[in-house]
């Protein structure tokens, strides 16, 4: 999972236009990844086993790891960065190294869950790159999981309905928000989380070939607000608009 600024409405950039100005912002977890954490907890509750959470981020990202452990994740792995942004190639490489080290020490993971895309960078590729490097099947955009003996059935929205994929374990799934409704951590959960282990590693920053030059805000779209009226007197204008939208035929 990834620690991201909790933006609300208008985004402000730093003077060098390299980052979002977070001086007055809190931080949270990318929503798809928040759902992935919740799904991991639910899978363990339903089928047994254990779960771990991993993030690549600055020292402060331990807060998000503890949030995840407060929900029921047993342990955490923190790939500590100096705050510089990592591109998706480099991020995937660091995660692969960490997964290999974890599996060498504690045995293989049955499932690696990712968010479908990070809220901030929207790269859509880290989970797939990890799956490729580890030679595991990967289904993206998952909104439903059913574990079977040595396989997992993953559902996602597709053209005209749901697409169903049945793949062998171990596997990689990238999840989309909406697969579940993440729970809130309890106070005892938060207290327990502080005692759970966070394993730290400091990977070396690298570039993967996609180099950010600068950030910029999109040009404002001109918009106009028209007050249609109040109560019943607004109805004729509403009907006009519905006709214009093709919702109502004359």
């Amino acid at each position: 999972m990834k620690r991201v600024p909790a933006t609300s409405g208008r985004i402000t950039l730093t003077a060098d236009r390299q980052e979002i100005d977070t001086r007055f912002l809190g931080f949270t977890v990318s929503p798809h990844e928040e759902c992935a954490v919740e799904e991991a907890v639910r899978l363990v509750e339903a089928h047994g086993g254990t779960s771990a959470v991993l993030t690549l981020g600055p020292e402060a990202a331990v807060e998000q790891l503890q949030d995840a452990m407060a929900l029921g994740i047993e342990r955490a792995v923190h790939l500590v960065t100096d705050g510089r942004e990592w591109d998706p190639v480099a991020t995937a490489e660091a995660i692969v190294e960490a997964v290999r080290a974890q599996e060498a020490a504690a045995g293989p993971f049955d499932l690696l869950l990712f968010g479908n895309e990070a809220a901030d960078s929207g790269d859509y590729q880290v989970g797939i790159r990890v799956a490729r490097a580890l030679d595991r099947p990967c289904v993206t955009g998952v909104k439903g999981i059913e574990l079977q003996d040595d396989a997992v059935e993953a559902r996602r929205e597709g053209p005209g309905g749901w697409e169903v994929f049945r793949i062998a374990l171990p596997a990689v799934l990238t999840l989309k928000e909406g697969i579940n409704l993440p729970r809130y951590p309890s106070i005892p959960g938060r207290l327990r989380a502080k005692k759970k282990p966070v394993e730290r590693t400091v990977p070396e920053w690298r570039s993967g070939g996609l180099e950010k030059v600068r950030l910029k805000l999109p040009s404002e779209r001109e918009s106009e607000v028209e007050v249609l009226g109040t109560g019943a007197e607004a109805a004729p204008r509403v009907v006009e608009i519905l006709k214009a939208l093709g919702l109502v035929r004359a």
Binding site: T140, V213, L245
Partner: protein, 295 residues
């Protein structure tokens, strides 16, 4: 040569691919290179003839007995082999779920970077892109350093253009990739079709929201009437009358959900309560959607 993946589902093209071709056409003109397209599976062959109007000079038709339905790794491996065969310098797809997925697989297999959801490109050296972040509420200017440029085009970054001054003839070149069983380990194994007449939020052309202003679950009556009259769809609700709990009602750090919501692209009629996940409640969703009218 610039190569665009024209995405389809069992022979039905995705309209976002035509937008991608319009983007590719400008890029091709800027580089002085031809725009060619790739169609995967013989089921897609009927699409080929229509691509000339979108500026495509040649269509590479991927053929394989097992390519009967969507299989992301097989699609990607076929494209990787086609790149090697044709020497494509830029490969692109629509920034759809499948487009991003297939291109990410191509990038992983070729160990090259990929820029997703681009809204502009400058085909110089190095290749520069402007791409969406935070669901489109922020843009990033970036450079891609790779032997082959891999990008996806953000939905609605450009309009599809199917009326060229000089329509081009389309040559169809079959391509038979060497695909192993491994490439088909991920494939659509089953489908649950939507009941006839239903429209999903992602397909809705118009979304009508009714927020807390309606007062209570009973206050949604007007919306429900509209659904009945106009053959719309009402999402699943909970006891509070909310389609899904509005995430931003939560009194904590999750005050605004972040950039994952961008599915309101081609709305049809879809009266929805404000609070539907991935819809009009999020700035990113609003920014990238057209014609969303939160109530």
């Amino acid at each position: 040569m610039i190569l665009g993946l024209v995405e389809h589902d069992r022979g039905r093209p995705n309209d976002l691919s035509f937008q991608m071709l319009a983007f590719g056409r400008r890029l091709a003109a800027g580089r002085g290179e031809p725009l060619e397209a790739v169609l995967i599976g013989t089921e897609a062959e009927p699409i080929a003839g229509a691509l000339g109007a979108h500026g495509v000079s040649k269509v590479h038709l991927i053929r394989h007995d097992e390519l009967t339905d969507y299989a992301p790794e097989a699609w990607a491996e076929a494209i990787v082999q086609l790149i090697a065969s044709t020497g494509a310098t830029v490969v692109m797809a629509a920034g759809s779920d499948r487009g991003n997925e297939v291109m990410a697989h191509v990038a992983a297999r070729t160990e090259m970077p990929m820029a997703s959801n681009c809204v502009a490109a400058d085909p110089g050296d190095p290749f520069q892109v402007t791409r969406q972040r935070w669901g489109g509420t922020l843009l990033e200017e970036a450079v891609l350093r790779a032997p082959v440029t891999l990008i996806t085009v953000a939905p609605h970054a450009v309009q599809a253009d199917s009326s060229p001054a000089t329509p081009t003839e389309v040559a169809v070149a079959p391509f038979d990739p060497n695909l192993s069983e491994q490439e088909f380990r991920v494939r659509v194994t089953d489908r649950v079709e939507k009941p006839a007449g239903q429209t999903s939020l992602s397909e809705a052309r118009v979304v009508v929201g009714g927020g807390r202003g309606v007062g209570s679950a009973a206050g949604f009556g007007a919306l429900e009437q509209a659904v009945g009259r106009h053959r719309g769809v009402l999402p699943r609700r909970n006891q509070r009358g909310v389609a899904y709990p509005r995430r931003s009602d939560r009194p904590d750090r999750r005050a605004h959900r972040s950039g994952s919501v961008h599915r309101l692209r081609d709305q049809r009629r879809h009266p929805a309560h404000r609070g539907v996940q991935g819809s009009e409640t999020h700035p990113g969703g609003q920014h990238r959607s057209r014609g969303a009218h939160p109530g």
